[in-house]
Amino acid sequence: MKNRFARIANAFAVSFFVLVLTSCSGPEKKAIPKSHTVEIKAMQFQPAELSVHKGDTVLFVNQDMLVHNVTEEKSKAWGSPSLAPGDSYKMVVTESSDYYCSLHPVMKGKLVVE
């Protein structure tokens, strides 16, 4: 009886050790989300193309003299409100997308999720 109890206890101990090991040394490490900034000035998004990781944050800052916005180009899936000079818009990136200013359609930018 005493031996049987010892075996069960050992089995629990080994299982716990394995569980701790696998949880600590798993191959998938979650990247810490980063913050990026896109400036809007001289009628351009700068940088016009930005590489990010899923979950990163992008802050769009309007440093131009006119009102702008940031709008997903293909289906307007996401977009900022109108940004007066000095205003900013923050978003978490979930997928790659092309975007533009719907007020000035020649202003275009791109977010590339790596």
Binding site: M43, V67, P105, V106, M107
Partner: protein, 180 residues
């Protein structure tokens, strides 16, 4: 404020680009002071706001109306900034022969636009926006900026150029649609 002179040839060329008759001015070798440059800049913006107003009244095309809204919004913003700068500098923009001629010619264009309707109006409005922005960009870059003495006024004019170029590209984009 220092009075700046504009060469006869350069000024005449700019007036031609703006669709004006250069003859009245070329002979006089006109000069523009900074207060006069400020007035010309405000006038150029106001003229395009007026064109936009006509487009909003006459067009039913969503792209044209959106473009007109953008012209109205942007050019009003530029006028507000120019007016604020003039106030800060203690300068009163001065009417002058150039702005008077610009307004007179704009009246002719407005009359022509008002006489059109439907697709003909859309085409005429957008064609005029392309030509007008080309002329204004040339005038700002080759005459108004070089002839301006005050650094803040010069900087404001320089800051406006990218917006004018974006407006031109937007207008050209629409022009392709109406010239198909």
């Amino acid at each position: 404020m220092k009075i700046s002179s504009i060469s006869k040839t350069g000024f005449g060329a700019i007036l031609c680009m703006l669709g004006f008759s250069a003859s009245a001015f070329a002979q006089e070798k006109p000069k523009l002071s900074d207060p006069e440059v400020a007035f010309v800049a405000v006038t150029a913006n106001q003229i395009d706001i007026d064109f936009a107003g006509i487009a909003k009244q006459k067009s039913k095309d969503a792209s044209v109306i959106e473009f007109a809204n953008t012209m109205e919004r942007d050019h009003k913003a530029v006028i507000a900034q120019a007016t604020a700068l003039a106030k800060k500098l203690g300068v009163t923009p001065q009417n002058n022969a150039v702005s008077k001629k610009m307004l007179a010619d704009a009246e002719k264009t407005k009359k022509s636009l008002r006489s059109k309707s439907g697709k003909a109006f859309n085409k005429a409005y957008i064609d005029n926006e392309v030509a007008y922005h080309k002329a204004v960009i040339a005038a700002v870059e080759t005459v108004l900026i070089p002839e301006t003495d005050n650094s803040e006024l010069k900087q404001l004019l320089q800051n406006v150029v990218p917006a004018l170029k974006a407006h031109l590209m937007h207008a050209e984009m629409l022009q392709k649609k109406y010239n198909k």
